[in-house]
């Protein structure tokens, strides 16, 4: 199954019954799959007139308490940024997929990771955070999609699945987990009072500064809880490693090929692969920085995650960087050469 199709199928199995999107390469298969499947399961598929419209439809559906998703690629996510900020400001759960392509501007259509800042630092305005999951295989795409809906509902936050064109287009076998989605009762949702309760109000406008501050602080506490409990990463052989590579998504798989070659040639290399980009696995990187001779970050960008890696190390060890951009994909051989430079 293609990565894009796997996201769509997993979302449906996670009880997502509403999808609003607008086509853009390289993620259009998600929309196409939803268009085919949603009517058959009594769900809603709607191709909006623009990305801005689509994200605001998500805002509305999330307010009504249903599981809802939208997907796009880089330029489209920029357009959605305003809506994402509103959704965060109204404390609503939803899932947003970004299958990243080269930027800025219309950029290109080949895979990139240059939307890291946009995803983890906030594309929209205001003090808000979004959980960002970065799968590296089609199977993990499925697992992350299930998790994304659960996390969104649990913390009432937007959750982003950050892939790249390669992950969206590639096909690998997948197994869908036999689990019934956790669908919590949403007593805050605006889905009709039936004259039995006071109306719920969903809003992101608070004119009184003390009210707004109270809300922001309460939200921050939720973010702190997420940062404490929901960090996910994978590590390999970092305990004795002289050089530790940090990479996420499909890049991590390419890095792994270089890592295996290094190990074979007697270089003590290790890998840390962040799965959540926010919350960022800073603790393990801080610990690793105490032991390793160097950390090297590899990305399909000119260096974005590397800033978070440097922050996490607190200067305890040198942090190097290797990146390709614009849709170019790093080759294992080039990464191996970088590794050799540090040992």
């Amino acid at each position: 199954m293609k990565g894009n199709e796997a996201i769509a199928e997993a979302a449906i199995r996670a009880n997502c019954k509403h999808f609003f999107g607008y086509p853009i390469t390289p993620q259009t298969e998600i929309s196409a799959y939803m268009a085919k499947r949603m009517p058959r399961i009594g769900g809603v598929f709607l191709q909006a007139e623009s990305e801005v419209a689509a994200i605001n439809m998500v805002y509305g559906a999330a307010g009504a308490g249903v599981r809802v998703m939208t997907s796009s690629s880089s330029p489209g996510i920029s357009l959605k940024a305003e809506g994402i900020s509103y959704i965060a400001g109204a404390d609503l759960p939803c899932v947003i997929v970004n299958i990243v392509r080269g930027g800025p501007g219309l950029g290109g259509i080949q895979p990139a990771q240059s939307d890291y800042f946009q995803a983890v630092k906030g594309a929209g305005h205001g003090d808000y955070k979004m959980i960002v999951l970065a799968p590296s295989s089609v199977q993990e795409v499925v697992d992350c999609t299930f998790d994304a809906f659960d996390l969104a509902d649990k913390y009432r936050v937007p959750v982003m699945i950050l892939g790249d064109g390669m992950l969206g287009q590639m096909m690998e076998p997948v197994v869908f987990p036999e689990k019934s989605p956790k669908c919590e009762q949403k007593d805050w949702a605006t889905c009709g009072t039936k004259n039995k309760r006071k109306p719920n109000i969903i809003n992101s406008l608070y004119i009184e500064p003390q009210d707004l501050e109270r809300l922001i602080i309460a939200r921050q506490q939720r973010y702190n809880a997420i940062a404490e409990k929901e960090v996910r990463f994978e590590k390999e052989n970092i305990e004795d490693a002289d050089i530790v590579l940090v990479a996420y998504g499909t890049t991590a798989r390419i890095v792994k090929a270089a890592y295996e070659k290094a190990r074979k040639n007697g270089i003590k290399a290790g890998i840390i692969r962040p799965i959540t980009l926010w919350p960022f696995p800073e603790k393990i990187i801080a610990e690793t920085a105490q032991r390793a001779k160097a950390i090297v970050c590899v990305e399909m960008s000119m260096g974005q995650m590397v800033e978070d890696v440097r922050l996490a190390t607190g200067g305890a060890c040198p942090v190097g960087f290797y990146g390709r951009a614009g849709g170019m994909v790093p080759e294992p051989e080039a990464i191996y050469d970088v590794i050799r430079r540090y040992v």
């Binding site: 390469t25 390669m166 590639m170 096909m171 690998e172 792994k256 994909v329």
Partner: protein
């Protein structure tokens, strides 16, 4: 066992479909597989290629940098990728479209007039299957035995009436000397 396969040619030659059939072939034999297409403005006429990995170990990078097997169906792709083929690897070239004499020590090059053979079978679009058949002749016999099942999984229902002719093309390639 790991076969890193690169299939390259023009869009419209069934490059992606050939890869898909190979990926399913790995899957029906309980192997790890990955299938990565080139995508973008490349359909029909432009260059197209696809990376397939079949392995008994988990697959790291899905990108094929130095293929063990190159199935190549036009001259530009042949010129571009021939130097990347791994030592001891195979090139399956459609000699109807690639009229270059080329050889290198340690590389097995199979020249099959696939497009011509396919035309004689009544459908020039079967050239991809003929080359795939030749590749199967270099693999464990279990793959040829299970190719029908893989094709049944990779041919969309609306095209299933073409299953038999595809199988025939694979056999023709398999038996070509």
């Amino acid at each position: 066992m790991t076969r890193e396969i690169l299939i390259a040619g023009f869009g419209g030659q069934g490059i992606l479909f050939g890869g898909k059939a190979l990926a399913y072939l790995g899957m029906v034999n309980n192997l790890e597989v990955s299938w990565l297409p080139s995508y973008g403005p490349e359909m029909r006429g432009g260059t197209a290629n696809c990376h397939v990995i079949i392995s008994d170990k988990p697959i790291g990078s899905p990108i094929v940098v130095s293929p063990t097997d190159l199935i190549v169906m036009n001259l530009p792709s042949f010129e571009k990728f021939k130097k990347n083929v791994a030592k001891g690897g195979n090139i399956f070239a459609d000699s109807s479209l690639i009229d270059k004499v080329w050889s290198r020590k340690g590389i097995n090059k199979y020249d099959i007039p696939a497009t011509q053979m396919a035309s004689e079978m009544g459908n020039s679009k079967l050239a991809n299957m003929i080359l795939l058949g030749k590749m199967l002749s270099t693999m464990d016999s279990v793959f040829m035995e299970t190719i029908k099942k893989a094709l049944e999984m990779s041919i969309p229902p609306s095209k299933m009436h073409l299953l038999d002719i595809n199988l025939k093309a694979i056999e023709a390639g398999f038996n070509y000397n």
